[in-house]
Amino acid sequence: MPKAIESSGICKSFGDTKALNDITFNINEGEIFGFIGPDGAGKTTLFRIITTLLLPDSGSMTILGLDSTVGYKKLRENMGYMPGRFSLYLDLTVEENLNFYASVFGTTVKKNFELISDIYSHIEPFRTRPAGKLSGGMKQKLALSCALIHRPRLLVLDEPTTGVDAVSRTEFWALLRKLKQYGITIVVSTPYMDEAMRCDRVALIQDGQMLSIDSPQNVRDGFSRKLFSARAGDKYRLLLALRDYPGTLSVYPFGDSIHLTLSEEKPGRQLSEYLSEKGINDATIVETEAGIEDRFLELMGMDEIKNP
């Protein structure tokens, strides 16, 4: 399968801080590739290297068949980029923003309208409104339209859904799915684990290191132990009790429940006696399927959360 991006051994430091360390990955043409990681993991730095805005200290990156440091001029014509911050002119209206970006890339809105028509239909009612007065979700759709207006082969979206409400996020991902049919390779980063499931493949990244690259399903399946979900009326007390339990390997709050792994095959009498000793009688512990977040926490070595 032809590769949209081939990266090998990318390192980048800012002063003494190592932002990226030996980043190697391949992205296939036409896939939605997600970089998942917490804030400060190095996602934005990596994206700026992909978009030729930064030069790596070492390592090489080939994008759309061009070397990213030498061929940046040609690359920039084929790339759509949406930075983490809203990259719109807030005093320009929706229409003016779109027309401006079209003219910058030497095209017109009309020429590529079919590509953005789906997205644009959401914001068209507000086309004479200044971009600064749009809601977060609307801004995001406008920014996406602007990044797509020149029909790029590679679309780079840095945390496009951060600060956007849940409904808009779902809509946004549905729009990205639709873009796939035009053969556009989409590279996206997000701090939200639930969004990882919507990518074709994901890379987990933390502290400038790649932890794992695989399809979301395989990443989940990579979870090495049985995972249990525990609930009780007093969640906090349950958490404290489980932390002190000698058979606990890892335990952390997860939504309204608690996720834990145990050294024993399954929670047995020993555990329930321990809990009632601690005065917790309403605890229910059931086996559950690991999500990406669980795998991510496992990879990050958060198991040690037990003995801080």
């Binding site: 700026r48 978009t51 030729t52 805005l53 930064l54 030069l55 940046y72 001029k73 920039r76 014509e77 790339m79 980029y81 949406m82 930075p83 983490g84 911050r85 809203f86 990259s87 719109l88 002119y89 807030l90 005093d91 320009l92 003016e96 027309n99 401006f100 970006y101 079209a102 003219s103 910058v104 890339f105 030497g106 602007c146 990044a147």
Partner: protein, 369 residues
């Protein structure tokens, strides 16, 4: 070309939608001209004078009238004795007191030297000097009238002073070229550096960089609207100075406008350079104001003559573009000289412009830091 025009259009929208930018662009020049033209005037007009007339004869009355009808002075009080002088000066009701000695008229007619003194409020040295100079001029002009003095007395030799180019020594003639010089630096350097750093701060520069736009296109697109608007500004100031202060351009208007364009270009390139160095709008504003505005006001010869400065300031000012432009614009506006007299300064400006533009384009980063 289409990309470039699209960019220029966007830039114009920015300017015309932002009231603050508009105020700085068009309000500031008008306010500055009015301010420097009227308020910061160094001309004497209706200065308050008190009189202590100890002889009270026809001559002193005529002389008092002569002084007060000159337009420079206005009589605010008649004093009755020496003890009032200190009081009226302290109260600020008079800038100076003119004291006629006893038997003023008789002594003048008999060829003796009558006693007259001017006591000025020295706490405002500039005004005191002006008041005494103007008053002395009127009084000596009066006493030398042949009808008053004895015909047989020796002729007094008084040089006839004439001010060329600015016969009435209007200070606006000094300030208008200075204000043009200052405003151009302010608007061009400040506004372009702000507008470029704004793109950096708002993150839109990232997208512009990841577009096929060349650095030259970005810079020119940013600068063109300001170039046009600054030119409109120069014309506005010239029209205003003509209508409000009656100051017309003595020399060639075409030459003046051409020189202004060169100077605007120079200021813009300084602005681009500032934006290449500054990371935020605040930095850009600071550099423009402290680095450009202050030296322009203080060291370019706009207010304080360079000839009176210590040598070191002279050197510093010789790298400041405004210094040369002030010479050019004063020559053309006030003296009416042609290109032959300002070519050296023009050459310096042209050289500086080329250097700054070269440096700015070279410094413009095609990547983030």
């Amino acid at each position: 070309m289409k990309r470039f025009l699209g960019f220029v259009r966007k830039e114009f929208i920015h300017i015309f939608r932002d009231t603050r930018t508009l105020v700085i662009l068009f309000g500031l020049p008008v306010v500055m001209i009015i301010l420097f033209g009227y308020v910061v005037s160094t001309d004497l007009k209706n200065a308050s004078l008190a009189f202590l007339d100890l002889s009270k004869d026809d001559v002193t009355t005529t002389l008092t009238d002569r002084i007060c009808s000159s337009g420079f002075f206005r009589k605010t009080a008649d004093l009755s004795g020496h003890q009032d002088i200190d009081r009226i000066l302290r109260s600020g009701k008079a800038k100076a007191v003119i004291v006629f000695g006893e038997n003023f008229g008789r002594e003048l007619e008999s060829g003796k030297k009558p006693r007259i003194s001017i006591i000025a409020d020295g706490s405002e040295p500039n005004i005191a000097t002006l008041v005494t100079n103007y008053a002395t001029a009127i009084i000596s002009g009066f006493t030398q009238q042949p009808t008053l003095t004895n015909q047989s007395s020796a002729p007094v030799i008084v040089p006839e002073v004439r001010m060329f180019y600015n016969p009435s020594l209007k200070s606006q003639f000094m300030f208008i070229p200075g204000v043009i010089t200052m405003i151009m630096i302010l608007i061009c350097a400040l506004m372009t550096s702000i507008t470029l750093t704004r793109e950096k701060e708002f993150g839109t520069m990232e997208v512009l960089l990841v577009s096929p736009l060349k650095p030259v296109q970005i810079i020119l697109g940013k600068v063109t609207p300001y170039f046009l608007l600054s030119f409109v500004n120069v014309v506005t100031i010239l029209v205003m100075s003509r209508l409000v202060f009656g100051m017309s351009v003595k020399g060639s208007l075409a030459l003046l406008l051409a020189e202004s364009m060169l100077y605007i270009l120079l200021s813009l390139s300084i602005g681009i350079l500032i934006s290449a160095v500054a990371k935020t709008m605040q930095q850009a504003i600071f550099i423009s104001l402290v680095g450009m505005m202050l030296p322009t006001v203080l060291l370019s010869g706009f207010i304080f003559p360079i000839e009176n400065m210590p040598e070191i300031y002279d050197w510093i000012s010789s790298v400041l573009p405004p210094r040369y432009f002030i010479v050019i614009i004063k020559n053309i506006m006030i003296k009416g000289t042609g290109f032959a007299h300002v070519w050296k300064e023009t050459l310096v400006l042209a050289f500086m412009t080329a250097a700054f533009i070269g440096l700015a384009v070279k410094k413009f980063r095609i990547r983030l830091q």
